[in-house]
Subunit: 226 residues, 2 copies
Amino acid sequence: MAAHTPRPVGTPEDLGRAPGLRERKKQQTRDALVQAAHLLFLSQGFARTTVDEIASAVDVSQRTFFRYFANKDEVALAVMADAEDYFIECLRRRPAEETPLQALRASIVKAWRDLGNARTSGPGSISSALELLRIIEETPALLAAHLRRVTEQERLVVQVLAEREGLDPAEDLRPVVLAAVFGSLLRSAHLSWTAEQEPAGPEGMVTVIERHFDQLGPALAGHWRS
Amino acid sequence: MAAHTPRPVGTPEDLGRAPGLRERKKQQTRDALVQAAHLLFLSQGFARTTVDEIASAVDVSQRTFFRYFANKDEVALAVMADAEDYFIECLRRRPAEETPLQALRASIVKAWRDLGNARTSGPGSISSALELLRIIEETPALLAAHLRRVTEQERLVVQVLAEREGLDPAEDLRPVVLAAVFGSLLRSAHLSWTAEQEPAGPEGMVTVIERHFDQLGPALAGHWRS
DNA sequence: GAGATTATGTCAGCCTCTGACATTCGGCAA
DNA sequence: TTGCCGAATGTCAGAGGCTGACATAATCTC
């Protein structure tokens, strides 16, 4: 097992090659750990769940747990992390005619919709991610780790945007600023989704996100008092 | 000592009352801890500094350290936290004629300038805060904690903005969105300040922040390709 | 100065996370 | 099939963050 095990991301040469037993087992324990952790977090809360519990629920040693995940946070954020990867993929595929802002909006909506239509249960399911989002928001340590992940994702967004528009992010601040704006827009959407009794599920999330996008113009415009 | 010791924030009834010996001593050890931690972090890095080291540098027990700060992160972020409080104060005082965006921009610039002109050394100095910013950015755990703090501050900004403009933040998304945008704008400014060889010190930071503000309009406008 | 408050120290202990080393298991080729 | 190599896992020991409980010492109040 590679040192520190980054999350398995399908490299090009993986495609079409049948993974051996070893790989399959690895994926299996990983999924099992995520799922076990998930269940425990939901039932007992994040803080009151120990790594030992998670590990022994899957019948591996604590040490093995830490070979799959760098820390306890990571296992909680794993599902969200996968979803974010998919979003980046969507963004990469947007047609060049769209403005950067349009492309971002379209990608995030598509990502949620697709994930919503995909597997609807199991460790990688999107409803899992949504339940997790609630736990994340109410657990300071997790929220912190999540926010850090999000800002790292933002760097990727900057890169993709700059590439799309053919400019150098070191020269031009616009991709940086837009990515930042987009990131925080998403976060306030998540926040309002978890806080309010919004329609649950991915489609509810899409609604909330779109509502936030629509407020972007008005928020930046002059005075608010009508 | 109150349980968990939130950072001392001057309550109205404190004003003009001479603090007793006990209070003064508390403030003294707190400052000493911050300063000692600060020096150690700068010389050895955050991770390689133990709480025991910090505590014994000030000649108190480890247990006492944890009565002042909930965790190791907090002592590192203490100076930044004070600066943020001052910013909020500035925002509260902005004239009502300014648009929300103008008020935010003016407050953050004023806050950096004032803090820059105030004590220029010592545990609460602004140059300390700036040095810390570098450490924060390169220490994942600290960055995470910092980001969480920032988003909490954002909630305050939402409140102040909503109050200014006389609207209900639960009804109207504009304060929420603007605060989010502002927060991420600041963060990318910090990032570019720590990354590049920007003019050091508070004034350099002001320059960077203003440059980012100026890009806000262009970033959101249609296509970027000229 | 006596008693009530409050800060500090001490101690024991849980939990997260890591390095080192031994063991077992899957992949692969003779 | 057998045997070897490398990769995954287990075991163990230990550092470091953090907390509750209780005792002690300092300040405050009257």
